[in-house]
């Protein structure tokens, strides 16, 4: 077989693979746009931030192929901690998160961030995830700044 013929299988493979990657469109991407911000709170007074709270909820923007189905998986901390190591319980419920293809809090579909969920990006390949939570400081909660990290991982649906 000539060198041209030997290279044919690889050439065909690449030619077939290229349209597949093209059909995937632009790669999935998620960007944190806003932290979940409780602000000043009092010992012994629980505070809930709803995902529809545009000014205090966490917001993450997703971009990807048009109308792509994407699996959202959160990694959620059970508590926040202070620099001195004190912990403060943080909980998430069935309606602590919301997804909006348009990015508006007015048309969110609420969901439980503790469970992976499949969403569909809009016709421009975009969507926004909102996240709230309930913070339960104890009556003797030590004063100070507390923080934790929330991670959202995207994966294409069906994999």
């Amino acid at each position: 077989m000539s060198p041209i013929h030997r290279s044919l299988p690889l050439f065909v493979a690449l030619a077939l693979a290229a349209p597949s990657a093209g059909a995937q469109g632009r790669p999935l991407r998620v960007t944190g746009q806003h932290d979940l911000t409780f602000g000043s709170i009092l010992p012994g007074v629980a505070v809930t931030i709803r995902p529809t709270d545009a000014s205090r909820s966490a917001q993450l923007q997703i971009a990807g192929p048009k109308l792509a189905q994407v699996v959202l998986t959160f990694s959620l901390p059970p508590s926040m901690t202070s620099p001195s190591g004190d912990a403060m319980p943080l909980t998430f419920g069935p309606t602590s998160a919301g997804y909006s293809p348009t990015g508006s809090v007015a048309d969110e579909t609420l969901f439980d961030p503790s469970t992976p969920i499949t969403v569909t990006l809009d016709g421009n390949g975009r969507g926004v995830v909102f996240l709230g939570a309930t913070l339960r400081p104890s009556g003797g909660q030590r004063a100070g700044n507390y923080s934790a990290s929330l991670t959202l991982t995207l994966s294409p649906s069906g994999l």
Partner: protein
């Protein structure tokens, strides 16, 4: 045979390319959750909110300037500021578990134990906060009023509920 091997190589190549594409598309981002816990302030209940006698079917209001107003004081050092959160009842409970609705909360706060020249605010159970200052004194005073609305068939008897005021030093 060689052609078969060629097709096998093609299939493997396709599989590998697709696997890499899928792996490359897994993405994640991290945001923070933050809170600032204040040091609990010393809050004292000085006077109950007292409606006295009310009559079935006749609503009654106690203003924060009235003698029956509820009163708290918050211990402060000069320059302190305190954020307050109210836990307010929606009803009083009376004989046999009968309930008496309460609402339309009103409030005043002042750096002296007087409602004259006091600043108005609206107490709320929905974690609404207000900030008060000492004005250089050792305490600030909070006055609370409300309205009860007995039904025409309201059972006679004594009705009570609890108002809780929590404070934390601000600017912590």
């Amino acid at each position: 045979m060689r052609r078969a091997l060629g097709y096998a190589a093609m299939v493997l190549a396709l599989t590998a390319v697709r696997a890499r594409a899928a792996a490359a598309q897994a993405r994640s981002a991290t945001v923070s959750v933050t809170a600032n816990v204040g040091k609990r302030a010393l809050v004292f209940g000085d006077a109950d909110l007292a409606f006295g006698n009310v009559f079935p079917g006749v609503a009654k209001t106690v203003a924060p300037t009235d003698a029956g107003a509820g009163r708290f004081h918050v211990r402060l050092r000069p320059g302190d500021h305190v954020t307050l959160v109210f836990d307010l009842p929606t009803q009083l409970v009376g004989p046999g578990g009968a309930t008496l609705p309460i609402g339309s909360w009103t409030g005043l706060w002042n750096t002296t134990n007087s409602t004259a020249g006091a600043a108005a605010f609206t107490p709320s159970s929905s974690a609404t906060t207000i900030q008060i200052g000492s004005g250089g004194g050792a305490a600030s005073y909070v006055f609370v009023g409300a309205r009860v609305s007995p039904a025409a068939t309201q059972p006679a008897g004594a009705y009570t509920a609890t108002i809780t005021l929590t404070g934390a030093y601000a600017g912590f």
